[in-house]
């Protein structure tokens, strides 16, 4: 009943008048004791007896004071605060300890926060759109192959939107694509997305100026475009008159109708300049053959769950299967949250989060070890406080507060390290998506705080438990001498072994990645990339290079395309800096084929290959070995029999027992099921080349001359003709890697003033970029392993030093009895060796078990690679033993006399 109302004001006052309160209480109790003592004396007791009786009646004075003081505190806030101050004072007195602990924790926590920020920016932070939780991506897939995620044919969007009851609206969007732009200063590639007109309303963004697309608007001879805020700034200096301005994109007259707010960029945070409308109701798409290049995004109606949407989409897909068997047989749909669809791949990074957790774990073990020594040194103090009546709760609280304080200090500094870490990550990960969005937000801070507190629990628990069982008598009697050293010694050994083991795990991870990258860089690209430059030229799809064939999604190229490239190659081949110049399709594409005179392949399982156009000079420029027959020639012209060259993989796979030379194949554009108009004769076999990237397996390839191409292409197939990569081998000793850019730009603009040239880079750089992810993971694991190694060395050094200082007495006796230096050295080293070997072995087992998690990042090396295990094990053991050597050496310098006197 008395619990109810408490006078908060008095308590607050007490909190600030701490000292006065204490003085008052002391005086109050002193008065009581004096009165009682006087009374006892009056009753005839001696002074001594009176004092004794008074004590008896009053009870434990310290305890009473403590209990009374507690009355004045908010629950235990005040005693907490007192302990915090107490702990802070204690820590200030040992700056070395403080610095070591805080620094190791900050390193560990900082690394964790950095990795978490990276993953947070991709997976946890809600996407920057209105109610992002209700945005879903609807992928189609072939029944039985849920991983074959594809967008629907464009026309299908109309069916989806009319038939479903679960989505407010569904829109389509392409990836960001580069297109040449002209009529607005220097010709350049701009980044655009094709979107259906409802795209902006699905994402609930409104233009800051102008309008968004209206229903039915689409690209044709001219088009409306909505531009991004950054494009508006760069190109129009935020001039409101930008609305209505026109320029050419890929040869199509484009008029600005709207401007998006700043920061609006679907979906990867890449650069985006403008949006171009697609009308899904257009007759152009009625054939439903254009599956796969657009991503559908729907906004769920309020209250509709993803599960309900899935059920509805299943129903609709069945209906479409009946209605459009040609395009939809066996096609199913799955509904995924947008964030999952766009950034779900980032889960592959979880093992890295695991790796940094190991680093932190090692740091914690170190701190636990240090804290242990500190607690032992303070056992006497604890015991005295305990015997004076300090409640055990307070003693535990005291220890936990100290660890909490250390952890929070470590966490705070860790946030600072994380800021640096994020910067470092950005530098390491040039091609990583969305690095601009990586930042320390509330979620990261919360994560850091939780991790800090968790670490406090981890390393503070041991000492806290000890504080809870102060063996008062033993401790006080032994005058602070260490008790039960055996048990705690074992504890320390376990700590040291674990540290070595965890460091071993990370070192092996790093070792495997280094091995992987070594393997990848030694992969033979199949050609000689030295001094080779590559530049992409994409002729615009609209305008003079292309005519749309009425009816259906077919496009006819004009002779200007081949003319452009022939002239370009001619111009470049006479440039003195260029030793040799060749060309191949910038966009390879998939074909299937049938062999004339062979039985027709089953329609659902046709042999397939990757197809690229090439110039006759490609072979010589890239120094690709010719294996059989001949390569393409400039004499392979339109009016000659069409020729094709295949690579070795192709020959091996499709003509294992026959000579491929002389075989005639009819190529078919996939996925449009349209055959080329004439068959091609295979005239040669060349070596496999990895121009796409080092990690890729080389697919079967077919090359044909850019001079021998059909004029009519279905859908997007024309891109492999319009867009070409020019490769040029520069003369040795020419310093003209940079000159090359201006040479090729000038050459291109001499033919067509509006033609931009993009992605000009060294071939070797392109190849290096292709294994970027592997390098990134390698670098990160190297850093983590380095930190782990450093922390583990500090740890094992600490344990060994402690071992020596604890045995100093014993060592003194041994030496006094005639032990040699090497005996002492052996005594210490034996323990070090034992700990190291057990640690390395345990770590090896753990590492082999955990390496499965990073298999996808490994190339040419097995997760249990014995060489890596042995080398890493030896290196770690050597370093660990060196860390033991210093304390061991010190042990041999012990002066027996001093040691024996040492109490």
């Amino acid at each position: 009943m008395f619990e109810r109302s408490t006078n908060v004001w008095l308590r607050l006052k007490a909190l600030f008048n701490r000292r006065r309160l204490d003085r008052d209480l002391d005086e109050e109790i002193r008065f009581h004791l004096a009165m009682r003592e006087q009374k006892q004396r009056e009753m005839g007791l001696s002074t001594e007896a009176a004092r004794y009786a008074t004590q008896q009646r009053f009870g434990n004075v310290t305890l009473v004071k403590e209990r009374t003081r507690e009355m004045h505190t908010f629950l235990t806030v005040e005693s907490l605060w007192q302990d915090v101050r107490w702990a802070a004072r204690g820590l200030r007195k040992s700056p070395g300890f403080l610095a070591t602990v805080v620094l190791s924790l900050a390193l560990g926590i900082g690394a964790n926060s950095t990795m978490f920020s990276v993953i947070n920016a991709l997976m946890y932070r809600p996407l920057p759109y209105f109610d992002p939780g209700s945005l879903m991506v609807i992928w189609e897939f072939e029944q039985g192959h849920p991983e074959s995620e594809e967008g629907p044919p464009i026309a299908e969007l109309v069916d989806w939107n009319t038939q479903n009851h679960v989505f407010e609206d569904i829109a389509l969007t392409s990836d960001t694509e580069g297109e040449p732009m002209a009529g607005l200063g220097e010709p350049e590639m701009i980044h655009q997305q094709f979107v259906t007109p409802n795209f902006f309303s699905v994402l609930r963004v409104k233009p800051v100026l102008g309008r968004i697309f209206s229903k039915g608007e689409m690209q044709d001879r001219s088009q409306a475009v909505v531009i991004s805020h950054s494009f508006w700034e760069e190109r129009f200096s935020k001039d409101p008159k930008a609305i209505g301005k026109a320029f050419q994109i890929a040869g199509v007259e484009s008029t600005v109708v709207g401007i998006m707010p700043s920061g609006f960029a679907p979906f990867y945070g890449q650069k985006i300049d403008l949006w171009v409308p697609i009308n899904p109701e257009s007759a152009r798409y009625s054939e439903r053959k254009d599956r796969g290049w657009l991503m559908p995004i729907g906004r769920l109606k309020p209250g509709v769950t993803r599960g309900q949407a899935q059920v509805e989409m299943n129903l609709i897909e069945r209906r479409l299967e009946q209605e459009y068997p040609r395009s939809n047989t066996g096609v199913r749909a799955k509904v995924l949250p947008l964030q999952e669809a766009v950034f779900g791949w980032a889960r592959a990074l979880y093992p890295l989060l695991g790796a940094v957790a190991f680093v932190l774990l090692i740091a914690c073990l170190n701190v636990a070890n240090l804290l242990q020594s500190r607690t032992e040194a303070r056992r006497k103090e604890q015991a005295i406080r305990g015997s004076l009546g300090a409640p055990r709760r307070r003693l535990i609280q005291q220890v936990l507060i100290e660890s909490g304080l250390l952890a929070l200090l470590g966490g705070t500094l860790g946030v600072g390290f994380a800021l640096l870490g994020i910067q470092l990550f950005r530098n390491l990960a040039e091609n990583f998506p969305n690095t601009g969005a990586i930042s320390i937000d509330g979620r990261v801070l919360l994560f850091t705080l939780s991790v800090s507190l968790l670490t406090a629990m981890l390393f503070g628990l041991g000492p806290a438990v000890q504080a809870s069982r102060p063996d008062l008598n033993a401790t006080l009697r032994e005058g602070g001498h260490r008790t039960s050293a055996g048990a705690r010694g074992r504890m320390r050994n376990v700590l040291a072994v674990s540290e070595v083991a965890f460091a071993m795990v990370l070192l092996i991870g790093a070792g495997l990645m280094i091995n992987t990258v070594l393997h990848l860089t030694q992969v033979n690209p199949g050609f000689d990339p030295t001094n080779v430059m590559v530049a992409r030229i994409s002729l615009p799809e609209g305008g003079k290079y292309l005519e749309r064939v009425p009816g259906g999604d077919m496009e006819k190229v004009t002779p200007l395309v081949t003319a452009f490239y022939r002239r370009l190659l001619e111009k470049l081949s006479v440039v003195p800096e260029i030793e040799s110049v060749g060309m191949m399709s910038g966009m390879a594409r998939e074909i299937s084929f049938s062999v004339l005179g062979h039985p027709a392949p089953p329609p659902e399982n046709r042999p397939s290959a990757v197809y690229q156009e090439a110039s006759a000079s490609l072979l010589e420029t890239l120094r690709i070995p010719l294996k059989k027959g001949r390569f393409l020639r400039d004499s392979d012209r339109e009016n000659m029999p069409w020729a094709a060259v295949v690579n070795e993989t192709f020959a091996r796979r499709y003509f294992p027992n026959e000579n491929p030379i002389g075989q005639r194949v009819l190529l078919r554009h996939e996925s449009y099921h349209v055959d080329e108009e004439r068959p091609r004769e295979i005239v040669g076999v060349i070596g496999d080349v990895r121009t796409f990237g080092l990690r890729e397996n080389v697919p079967p390839m077919v090359y044909s001359s850019y001079l021998q191409q059909s004029a009519i292409y279905p859908g997007g197939c024309v891109l492999s003709h319009l867009s070409q990569d020019v490769v040029a081998r520069l003369g040795l000793g020419s310093s003209s890697q940079n000159n090359f850019a201006s040479i090729i730009k000038k050459a291109a603009q001499k033919i067509d003033l509006d033609q931009p040239v993009t992605t000009i880079m060294a071939m070797s750089r392109h190849l290096a970029d292709s294994i970027d992810d592997f390098r990134l993971i390698m670098r990160l694991l190297e850093i983590f392993a380095g930190m782990a190694l450093l922390l583990a060395i500090v740890g094992i050094y600490g344990v060994m030093s402690y071992f020596v200082s604890e045995r100093i007495h014993e060592i003194g006796i041994r030496m006094a009895l005639g032990a040699e230096r090497w005996n002492v050295l052996a005594l210490v080293t034996k323990l070090g060796l034992k700990l190291t070997v057990i640690g390395v072995a345990t770590g090896a087992v753990l590492a082999v078990w955990l390496a499965r998690l990073i298999t996808r990042f490994l190339y040419g090396v097995s997760p249990a690679d014995p060489t890596t295990l042995v080398v890493v094990g030896l290196v770690l053991a050597t370093i660990a033993l060196l860390a033991c050597y210093i304390p061991a050496h010190r042990a041999t310098k012990v002066d027996p006399v001093l040691a024996l006197r040492h109490e």
Partner: protein, 113 residues
Amino acid sequence: MKEKNKNTGELLRDTLDMLILKALSRGAMHGYGIAEVIGQASEEVLRVDEGALYPALHRLELRGLLTAEWGVSENNRRAKYYRLTAAGRRALGEESARWGRMAAAISRVMETA
């Protein structure tokens, strides 16, 4: 630790609170005086650990049932005097009524059983 106190000490603590309030109903008094009154009035049967008075006194003060001020004692020493507040007087009324009912009930049970 705190929990244990609550369970076993609840009755005792509330009773001690009540005895303190009762003792103070005669007028302002210091801690020692209260201990004496409780001891004498109960003919030394209820002789609590005198120390236990102080947490209780401070608790009651913080709850606004008592006020305290420093004064001078009968032997000319500085002493802290406690006095009932209106709320304290009310609480004492309620408590002693409750206690009366309970004591009566208990003694009935003890007699009949």
